[in-house]
């Protein structure tokens, strides 16, 4: 199983190495996960040499993003938009080993160059605000309470000069509540050289992408310095991964309702004794379903990106991971190249023709997906509005090797964990095992200023499950701190797990660490009945308005007798003033 996986990876590596000389390259890998699900991984990579980037000579790296990075002194950027849940039990290992995905919502981490922490944070805020505008996401809400500085979990993916490492600051922020949708896809597509008009990016349609069962968009910008002395360049990689339900995607857009099928179309198990009467025990869908690109994505691929560019070479930009026995019909003059592994074939697209791929219904053995290195599930325990607990189950499926990983969790400040209750035990025994947590970095929360940061180095013995638990108290918020939908609860960001390579492995492998993330959690806090203060406010305001209106009216209005209106008598006024003066004089004399 693992060999298949390695083969798959090496394939990607070969593909990427072969075309590293080109400044832009794109690639789509289609892979059926189960007979009913299709994983589509889009990858777009643009390069720019370091000097041209610094001189703001942008060709494939978009100017909008490049200038933001320069303005915010950001040397390395990782931005993730994700929705849905990767069902590791049925789908196996994650695409790109989890390196190109984030937790639910938006996740951003970056290495920012600055002399001090304060300056780094200021740069970070600048970066967030700029990216927020660029991607139509609420990234500007990543403030100090949502920002952490991970110590052990993340490592720079780019090649940074050793001298600059001391001035690089890693900042990490998440928005678990952010709903990723088409308004984030459109700016994402605009960053591509072909902007979704040609090449594989034509398949990225918001309707299909956001109907996927799981979907993630990522942007990584990092400096790369090849080992053999050639000059450094900036690499920007955009990736979109999605898991499509073939049956659901095939539904026509004008009639997407999954009505019950007509009686005669039901596939029934005729062996059942009641099959002849009224019952129909439905048969499993075991054979591969038929699908084509335009059925699943709503349209075929339109030409190839940058095909007319003189410096560009045609590459194999679409790969399909199915067995060679599987019938695949293509149109549009693409060149097919079956890989030696027997489980993959790639296509070089024609410059302008529409590329269509069609897989008829056929029962073949599906390729067994590699198993993920670790299964993680996190949930709340207990109930009530006062306190609760978090329980994380971490399972090592390997029967032979123990596994070590960093477990990184950020909690909002209103969730106050008790570190003394943090225990890790094997699921089979009740007593906590102190040897499971090897080391730990903990940064406690400050009310309304920063959240809790917890990083643990955890080791799980082979074929066993570790239960990590801790208890927490729920804080009571000020009533203005509640969001409009206070009773929904508060999202707690997913935990990030970085699997460390086995201790015996070479250090070169560190950059290719496996990542995975748990699901986010919904924390319900004690919530006041908001109708109460609002009723009071509304009622008081009404009374105030009425009272104020009346009093103001009385104060401002001058009441004049009906007989006094016509013609103002000057002599009267004079005598009045005279009387006043006399009274004043009297008073003065009396005081004397």
């Amino acid at each position: 199983m693992r060999s298949v996986y390695i083969l798959f990876l090496s394939l990607i590596l070969i593909v990427s190495f072969t075309f590293a000389d080109s400044d832009y390259h794109e690639n789509l890998i289609l892979e059926p996960l189960t007979p009913a699900l299709l994983l589509a991984s889009f990858n777009f990579r643009s390069n720019a040499s370091q000097p041209s980037f610094e001189q703001q000579h942008f060709q494939y790296i978009p100017r909008s993003l490049g200038q933001i990075l320069q303005h915010a002194n950001t040397k390395e950027l990782h931005l993730r938009f994700s929705t849905g849940k990767w069902d590791a039990e049925s789908w196996g290992a994650r695409p790109w080993r989890g390196a190109k995905e984030g937790g639910t919502g938006v996740e951003l981490w970056a290495w920012v160059e600055a002399d001090s922490d304060e300056k780094a944070f200021a740069n970070w805020i600048t970066l967030n605000n700029a990216l927020s505008g660029l991607f139509c996401a609420s990234l500007n809400f990543i403030d100090s309470t949502r920002t952490t500085r991970p110590v052990m979990t993340f490592e720079p993916a780019g090649d940074h000069a050793n001298s600059s490492l001391s001035t690089l600051h890693l900042l990490h922020g998440t928005l678990p509540r952010e709903v990723v949708c088409t308004e984030n896809l459109t700016p994402f597509l605009k960053l591509l050289p072909c902007k979704g008009k040609a090449g594989i990016s034509t398949l990225l349609d918001g309707h299909k992408l956001f109907d996927a069962s799981w979907q993630t968009m990522s942007i990584d910008v990092r400096p790369v310095c090849p080992a053999h002395g050639s000059e450094c360049y900036i690499e920007m990689e955009q990736a979109v991964d999605m898991v499509l339900d073939i049956e659901r995607s095939k539904r026509p857009r004008d009639n997407p309702i999954p009505r019950p099928v007509p009686h005669e179309e039901l596939a029934c198990d005729k062996s059942k004794p009641y099959a002849d009467f009224d019952g129909c025990y439905p048969l499993d869908v075991s054979s591969d379903q038929s699908w084509s690109l335009s059925e699943v994505f709503g349209r075929p691929i339109r030409g190839s990106c940058l095909a007319t560019d003189a410096s560009h070479r045609a590459t194999e930009s679409v790969c399909l991971n199915v067995r060679h026995e599987r019938d695949v019909w293509t149109s549009g003059g693409a060149i097919e190249n079956k890989k030696a592994s027997g489980q993959s074939r790639c296509f070089t697209l024609h410059e302008t023709n529409l590329f269509e791929m069609n897989l008829p219904q056929q029962s073949t053995e599906t390729i067994i997906r590699p198993e993920p290195p670790v299964y993680a599930s996190r949930s709340f325990t207990g109930h009530g509005q006062e306190r609760g607990g978090v329980q994380t189950l971490l399972t090592n499926p390997s029967t032979t090797l123990p596994i070590e990983f960093m477990y990184f969790e950020t909690l909002p400040w209103f969730m106050k964990p008790y570190l003394h209750t943090l225990t890790a035990r094997l699921s089979t025994v009740a007593i906590p095992d102190p040897s499971i947590i090897k080391s730990m970095y903990y940064r406690p929360a400050l009310d309304r200023r920063r959240g809790t940061q917890l990083e643990c180095l955890i080791s799980v013995p082979p074929a066993s499950t570790v239960v990590l638990t801790y208890d927490f108290d729920k804080a009571i918020l000020r009533y203005t701190e509640y969001p409009p939908d206070a009773n929904r609860g508060f999202d707690v960001a997913p935990a990030v797990i970085r699997i460390l390579p086995p201790s015996g492995a070479e250090s070169a492998a560190t950059s290719e660490a496996d990542f995975l993330r748990t699901t986010s959690l919904l924390l319900s806090l004690p919530t006041p009945d908001f109708s109460m203060p609002y009723n009071v406010i509304i009622l008081t305001s009404t009374v105030m308005a009425l009272a104020f209106g009346m009093v103001f009216n009385l104060l401002v209005r001058r009441f004049v007798g009906a007989d006094e209106v016509e013609g103002y008598d000057l002599s009267k006024l004079r005598s009045k003033i005279g009387a006043r003066i006399i009274a004043l004089k009297d008073r003065l004399t009396r005081r004397r």
Binding site: A36, A212, S213, P260, E265, G279, P282, T381, H383, S520
Partner: protein
């Protein structure tokens, strides 16, 4: 000026020093130079009287002061108590009237019940039939065969299934089973929220829930095709209606008892709503019976009930019944009957369906039960569930808009807590009033009677002039006599009686089923003799003084009033029912009849006997026996149910009965025992 028979309230007053300080700061006494204190002990805080006109008191104030000592006022509390009870009871009976009850309405706008087309039907009927055949085929077989079959059906629908074994032990019985469930992940969700669809393999009456289980399995397959779910849908099939759902709900929140209940292998996010499908019929049904009571009388949000009702009756045209009122003509009688049934069910606090176990976890849940013989088929029920789930799916926040405290008297009429709470509170307050009256009474050395007052008119009562802190007061001499209250014995006795309640609580929750009927009969008999025995024991060496007796009853009633008032806010029905059953306790003893005071031993023997009989008839075991007779259930079954509820559900009706009601009853019976 306070009209003060209220001197006894001083126990509630803030500390002396604080008051003195406030007085000093505000210079209260300086501001009212013509008022001086008459009460040496309290410096006039509880009653000031003008002394400007010397010993003879001016008209109005004098009459008020006299009123304060008027025995007629001191005689009033029992009548006030009785009046409160009657008002409480009457106001309860007014509730079904149109003027007091309200039409139900959907408070949460997001729900939009019945606003979607439902598509469940057509060829789904064939699949349903097949699943029903499958369910019938494994009915009555071993648990693992049933679980295998269910898992197979889940898997064929493309859903992963998981199992959970559980075991509860109560009253020597063992309740075992296995829950099978599956999680249908929301296509774009992140497992943060979930809604649960449940069918119990056997329903509350122990019948095979054949159509319900088949329907849930068909719906699971049907729901899988939709991509619009914003929340995970958990499809759970429990092997029974009481233990299984409880085990699952406990384990979901990690509050299960290990290792009797297994942890759940798969979990989703926060549960937002639960719908239980119960259709044991093998034919078409007439109406939907919606069951909504939770454990300990907690209720689901009224919005959930309203949504289900609106969808069933409004969208599907299925009539909705509740509280087993199969025919409801919307008359006063029927409304009242529905409400009272609801109150009894709430008061008992037991699980009324698989949904009950979720409500203590603040997960709103209801059971939809198909009843009667009519023309509605299972597909209609399925569409009902589908539409309800579409509404739940719309929820952005958890249920919070509508009422959690209500009494339903028809599918579309309810009264909210603000309207019904006063009746239980009035009943509870009657005990407090009597307790206060007894407290005053116990502090009086003598009681001025109407007769003696007339005599006193001829000679002026003896007065005494008090001078203190530059103030002068004049007061009748007998007012200055301070009676010391002997608190130790009464408090000890009352506290002990409440702790004594732990004994029956323990016995009835831990005895085995076989011993229940015998234990109960022995207990009931012992309970009859207990007051006399205790009374004899108390007066064995020296009889209790009148004051001690008054205080004994006072503390007992005070506690009862406090407990019931608190309980009324949590479980209205239980507080109200116990309040009514304990009402005679307010009237035992008769502290205000001069005869019984002056000669407690001789007077009112007949009365005491009468009270004893009344109390014996209203003792907790007697009430329980009578209720069992009335509903035609065996006492043993009730006790088994209660013991199971105690172990599995965390039922505290027993605690209320044995540690609040029974001690109050015991003390009341001892006080009115002729032997004391």
């Amino acid at each position: 000026m306070p009209l003060d028979g209220l001197g006894y309230l001083k126990i509630l007053a803030p500390p002396e020093k604080v008051l003195r300080w406030i007085e000093g700061k505000l210079n209260l006494l300086g501001r009212l130079p013509h008022y001086v204190s008459i009460d040496q002990k309290t410096y006039g805080r509880y009653g000031v009287l003008p002394t400007t006109s010397g010993p003879s008191l001016p008209g109005a104030e004098a009459s008020l002061l006299l009123l304060r000592r008027d025995p007629r006022i001191l005689k009033a509390p029992p009548y006030v108590s009785l009046l409160l009870i009657l008002i409480g009871l009457t106001s309860l009976f007014l509730l079904p009237l149109d003027y007091y009850s309200r039409h139900t309405y959907i408070s949460e706008n997001a729900l939009l019940p019945g606003q979607v087309h439902t598509y469940f039907g057509g060829s789904e009927q064939n699949i349903f039939n097949a699943y029903k055949h499958e369910v019938q085929a494994v009915a009555g077989k071993e648990q693992h065969e049933i679980s295998n079959k269910l898992e197979e059906i889940f898997n064929s629908a493309g859903l992963k299934a998981a199992r959970q074994k559980y075991q509860f032990e109560a009253a020597g019985n063992r309740y075992t089973g296995e829950n099978v469930y599956s999680i249908l992940h929301a296509p774009r969700g992140d497992a943060t929220e979930a809604i649960v669809l449940i069918a119990a393999w056997t329903n509350m009456d122990g019948e095979l829930n054949q159509s319900g289980c088949a329907l849930v399995l068909t719906l699971a397959r049907y729901f899988k095709r939709w991509s619009l779910w914003s929340k995970d849908i958990i499809i759970l099939i429990t092997s029974d209606s009481k233990a299984g759902p409880q085990a699952w709900a406990d384990a979901y929140h990690n509050e299960h008892s290990v290792p009797a209940v297994e942890p759940l292998p798969m979990k989703s996010g926060a549960l937002q709503g639960v719908v239980v499908v119960d259709n044991a019929l093998n034919h078409r049904f007439e109406s939907l019976h919606i069951v909504y009571d939770g454990i300990n009388g907690q209720l689901p949000n009224l919005d959930l009930f309203n949504t289900a009702t609106a969808i069933a009756s409004g969208q599907m045209g299925i009539s909705v019944v509740l509280q087993r009122m199969w025919k409801h003509g919307d008359s006063y009688r029927e409304r009242l009957q529905t409400m009272l049934r609801g109150m009894v069910s709430q008061g008992l606090g037991h699980a009324s369906g698989p949904h009950s176990c979720f409500i203590p976890y603040h997960v709103d849940a209801i059971t939809l039960q198909a009843v009667g013989d009519g023309w509605q088929d299972e597909m209609a029920m399925g569409r009902c569930v589908e539409s309800t789930f579409r509404s739940l799916n719309n929820l952005l926040e958890k249920f919070h808009q509508s009422f959690f405290f209500y009494l339903l008297m028809q599918a579309n009429r309810f009264v909210s807590i603000g309207t019904y709470l006063p009746s239980a509170m009035l009943v509870a307050v009657n005990f407090s009033i009597m307790a206060i009256a007894l407290w005053i009474r116990s502090g009086r050395s003598t009681v001025p009677t109407i007769g003696s007052k007339k005599k006193n008119e001829e000679k002026e009562p003896e007065m005494e002039v008090i001078r203190q802190d530059g103030m002068v007061a004049i007061a009748p001499k007998h007012r200055l006599v301070i009676v010391e209250r002997e608190l130790f014995l009464p408090i000890t006795l009352v506290v002990a009686s409440h702790f004594l309640g732990v004994i029956p609580l323990y016995i009835f929750n831990h005895a085995s089923q076989s011993a229940f009927s015998r234990t109960f009969i022995i207990f009931a008999q012992a309970n009859m003799l207990l007051p006399s025995f205790l009374a004899a024991l108390l007066s064995y060496q020296s009889p209790l003084s009148t004051q001690q007796r008054l205080l004994l009853q006072c503390f007992s009633l005070l506690l009862l009033g406090m407990f019931l008032a608190t309980l009324a806010t949590l479980n209205f029905s239980l507080a109200f029912l116990i309040g009514l059953l304990a009402a005679p306790l307010s009237f035992v003893g008769q502290p205000y009849s001069t005869t019984s005071y002056e000669n407690p031993a001789s007077g009112g023997k007949v009365r005491k006997l009468l009270m004893t009989i009344v109390l014996q008839l209203l003792s907790p075991p007697a009430v329980m026996l009578a209720a069992c007779k009335a509903w035609d259930v065996r006492v043993e079954d009730v006790l088994v149910e209660a013991a199971f509820g105690w172990t599995a559900h965390g039922l505290w009706t027993q605690v209320v009965v044995w540690c609040i009601w029974w001690p109050a009853w015991t003390v009341g019976s001892v006080v009115c025992s002729p032997l004391l």
